[in-house]
Symmetry: C2
Subunit: 253 residues, 2 copies
């Protein structure tokens, strides 16, 4: 009926469409003085410097020497800006896996790449995610993850589930460590003293008769040793990959 080739469902916000290279500049009117990427870069600079809470429309505009409302000619809302910030905040995907790596080595590299990004830009964890990824680089990450599982016996649906499992784990682990870091800064404590202080607090609060298992953990000094946070990350990742490996071998055998 309509002559438009685009007939399908959900409407993509204009700024996201331009991130995909669709959408040409309208022929009339004054030339734009800014650009969506410049705005997003400015917002990312603010988040890198002062955290996500410092990213307000007026602050980003100030960063660009423009007025607040000028930004709305480029992005439809702050939420749209946040979506674009996530895209450039993650940056380009780590690339396809090394051909001589097996799936496990590939996914390990993939997980570490996200881990690295989230360590450097912990504000990414505070962006409320409002849906599945639709920006170019985000889908690039997904593509690279899927390729790691290319030679395996897993079904396509299972590959997707495995990626979701891993990326969820990486985000979660990064959340916890960044909370410790932010909490120690807020309380004015050394980061290494944070978990021991928490352990002492809980030990003071709980009744050992009501919380025997918890009391045993605290008595074992689990929170006192400040081991390499990377060890914790590796532990969980290895558990998950062990679980995936068990499935792959079951499918194969």
């Amino acid at each position: 009926m309509a002559a438009k080739t685009d007939d399908s469902g959900p409407v993509l916000p204009p700024a996201i469409e331009s991130a995909w290279g669709l959408r040409e500049r309208p022929p009339k009117g004054p030339r734009p003085g800014m650009s969506v990427p410049a705005i997003v870069d400015a917002a990312v600079r603010v988040a890198d410097a002062d955290g996500l809470a410092a990213v307000s429309m007026s602050r980003v505009a100030k960063e660009l020497g423009a007025a607040t409302m000028a930004l709305y000619r480029y992005v439809g809302s702050k939420d749209e800006l946040l979506m674009l910030m996530v895209d450039t905040g993650y940056g380009p995907s780590p690339g396809p896996p090394d051909p001589q790596d097996d799936w496990r080595a590939g996914l390990t590299r993939w997980a570490w790449a996200e881990h690295e990004v989230l360590r450097r830009r912990s504000w990414l964890l505070h962006v409320p995610i409002s849906g599945p990824p639709i920006t170019p680089q985000q889908l690039g990450w997904m593509e690279d993850g899927l390729r790691c599982l290319d030679g395996t016996t897993l079904g396509e649906s299972e590959k997707m589930s495995v990626l979701l499992l891993i990326t969820g784990y990486v985000r979660n682990e990064a959340s916890l460590t960044s909370q410790v870091a932010e909490g120690s800064r807020a309380a004015g404590i050394e980061p290494a003293e944070m978990m021991p202080a928490y352990g002492r607090l809980v030990a003071r609060l709980i009744d050992p008769a009501r919380f025997p298992a918890l009391h045993r953990v605290l008595s074992a000094g689990v929170l006192n040793q400040d081991d390499d946070p990377d060890d914790e990350f590796v532990f969980g990742l290895d558990r998950i990959l062990d679980g995936v490996e068990a499935l792959i071998q079951r499918r194969a055998g």
Copy 2:
């Protein structure tokens, strides 16, 4: 030096202390007309009805027939109120594991209990978590989880890591499904049509040459079948528990 028996580090907010039953009512002054639990219950009612975004201090006060600023006699800040909301939102822990259950059955029940809570109160996922749990019921959940691992060969530190792994997974899975639900409501689409619509959108955006693996997943119709979301939950949980099982058997053997 000080005669106080309490000398250790981080100061607990007053409202949290009263949640632990410490802190008696001051002898002087007018009798309080409200109570912390009443305020928290009102806030939880608002969140249950209209989501976390509807929880403002003025809205909660209106729920109680009080003025906004009256609440600040009971809670120190909105963040404190949120912390208490999480505590009562989760509710009492599911209880210690059935004695005849092994660790795997116990943790499965434990994970399903949290899953159930988060399905009923998805606003819990939107509360920005600002630190490790310090409220009574939260620590109760942790206690019950630890007890599931009581008979195993795992070290205390490993037990803690396993719980973190599982609770992180449950939260993550609940986040994804609740995003789909909220997204479909916002877009006015049937929930069952959400993922297929997403699949069509991505298929339209990507170049199959640049995203071959992703294209293959979409062509397989992974997003078109609307399978039971519980199946997805079980899949990931089983992977993780398989991984934990592998570790336990390695420790034992």
